[in-house]
Amino acid sequence: MSIDLEQFHETFFEESFEGLDIMESGLLELEQGEVDLENINTIFRSAHSIKGGSGTFGFTSVAEFTHDMETLLDQMRNGERQVSVPVVEILLGSVDVLRNMLNAIRDGSDIDVDNVAEMTVAIKGILGEESSATEVAVSQPVSVAAKGWLVQFKPAVDIMKTGNDTVRLLRELNSLAETAEVTVNNESLPPLSELDPEDCHQSWSINLIGGEVSEDDIREVFAWVDDECELTIESLADEENYVGPERRDDDRRQKEPERRRTERRTSKPAESSSIRVNISKVDELINMVGELVITQSMLSRFGEDEEFNASTIERLKDGLAQLEGHTRELQESVMRIRMMPISFAFQRFPRLVHDLSSTFDKKIELIMTGESTELDKTVLEKIGDPLVHLVRNSLDHGIESPQARIEAGKSETGVIELSAFHQGGNIVIQIKDDGAGLNKDKIITKAKEKGLVANGERLSDDQIYDLIFRPGFSTADVVSDVSGRGVGMDVVRRNIRELGGAVEVKSKPGEGSVFTIRLPLTLAILDGQLVGIGNETYILPVISIIESLQVKSENINAVAGNAEVYRLRDEYIPIVRLYNIFGIEPVSTQLESGLLVVVEAEGKKIAIYVDDLLGQQQVVIKSLETNFKKIEGLSGATILGDGTVALIIDIAGLIELYQKDMANVVPIKGGGLAA
């Protein structure tokens, strides 16, 4: 029977990468001086599993590399080797090498052999071995007795208590040779009254004749009971011994690892991405589908044999209401399948912070909370890089050097807090540091230098901090290789916006900064407020709406140029006439006859002028970029119940569009959409 082992590869890779993550976080804990035996055991087990799996599935180079790591870890868990920083560092490096190897094998690319060799030497150096090839399988000439063998087998009394069965051993022996003459010796058998049926008191002598049996073959049969028996093997024809050139293939089992299989996979070079889904989520789905089927069969009755009257219409309405409920639940269940805990994005940070603190000579404690907060897999994958950038930034620019911290009367160790939580239908991720805080003067000077702020322009603190997200802005005195050269924060903001999210920063001098990222739960569906402008319907994300109000003319103020603001309680909020931005013919241009919808994004508010509010519903987001092209101020489109297309407004983008517009003092020409 031949079984295609390739079908298990995906699982193997998946669990190996998980294992590597476990090793990494375990090693980082070790390095911090928390020597906990269970932790070492866990690290060892991960290495051991990777070694076992890679050997079995034919990735010999991985198995060989892991072998030395395993040996080292084994010494550590047996207390034979002290846990020390250099050893942990090498193991961390090995984890990286291993990860690269596995990636290369999975993608069908070449393994970085030099890298592997270098690390192997490093590990062997610790183990105190010469970097000679280990365990070279020397193929010894196998002696085969031409005529046969005399095997004497005297098992220990309790041999059966390990589940070994002498009959099985004899049967196996019998299968080796052409003929086997067996003599049983019952001499030591006690009288029946004293006989324990669970004991074995017999011994056997067997003449094996013919069938090209080697001594190893016989020893192999008794391998498991080596220590539970007396075994002698004598050749029946010593003088005729000869060196046999061949062994039967079957008997090669267990003797040497298989080295034939090639490492490289031929197909599937690209990542085939899969997600692991908790079985309860799937059950939930099946359950919902069941409900849906029941509702469907109930509804289908109306199309068949029933006459319509007032009472059937009532029931039809009930049925439709049920259908709506089930559809929504089903949709939510399906969405949940895509949800994964944010720990997948967080888990790389302990390592990153560890590496960077030594690069920068800073002492950092990383605190992570809310790791089980779930968000969409796509969002999760794309939020990784921006997060890395923000954490690096906090570490590089936020946290001061230990010296400076002591002088400022703080603890020598800086704290970076990474937290995730739900807030009003959004996922919020915060990166908080207790460093020096953003330097307002430096930001303004820099911004003026770069022409981002006009001389004499007055900005609020938050507006000043927000400048760091503008393209081409970087305050680092020395450009380090970590925080990059000014291609940082603007890219972070752009990436987060592409996910339909927003990022803002708050800071207090001497106390630190907090970066807050808000992300939608999912990219596919949005709670939308439908608004009418002329004949068009637009959709505003409900999440960004603060309130909607009827316009009182005394609260409208015109300011410089053609800008208008609305006084809402103590605030002045710019009015954005949507029809102007998108070039549509509105029902009315008189603010009093329409409505204002106050929305907020990234800490800025605007009041959008619309003709009418139409209703709220969940809408499925279709990408404009893939179906048409990217348009500023819009995040996508959707198809409404009546088949018409409605465009979804990107509030942050709209605010930017409006600000640009005001800066140029040229009204935005119509176009965009109508075209």
Binding site: H9, S49, G163
Partner: protein, 120 residues
């Protein structure tokens, strides 16, 4: 047909063992650690146990020791999956009551040959 309990914390190994044995017609139940295996073995009688050694919660050797103490598992064959290098593990396993071992890495044919021999 004979029933087999396959115990391994590695999903890929478990899948491979289970798939191979099922393909040969055996009834296979899986468990991810010694404790889970012990619970399953107590609620259903198996004809053969195949277990990994290094596992979280309860390792294979402890599992074998515990199960061997059960009256209806006194003579049941119990095989450990072990690596060649772990000589002392084999001895520990034997002392705990293991019948024998299968050395990793192994391929499906090697696994089947061994299982066939043990189950006869």
């Amino acid at each position: 047909m004979a029933t087999i309990l396959a115990v391994d914390d590695s999903a890929s190994m478990r899948q491979m063992v289970s798939f191979t044995l099922k393909g040969a017609g055996y009834q296979v139940t899986e468990a991810a650690d010694g404790q889970e295996a012990l619970n399953k073995a107590k609620s259903q009688q198996f004809d053969l146990i195949i277990t990994d050694v290094n596992m979280p919660v309860m390792d294979g050797i402890t599992f074998i020791k515990n199960l061997r103490g059960e009256a209806n598992y006194k003579f049941t064959p119990m095989l450990m999956l072990t690596t060649e290098s772990a000589g002392d593990k084999k001895a520990q396993g034997k002392a705990a009551g293991a019948t024998g071992w299968i050395v990793k890495p192994f391929n499906p044919d090697q696994l089947l040959n061994t299982v066939k021999k043990v189950l006869g």
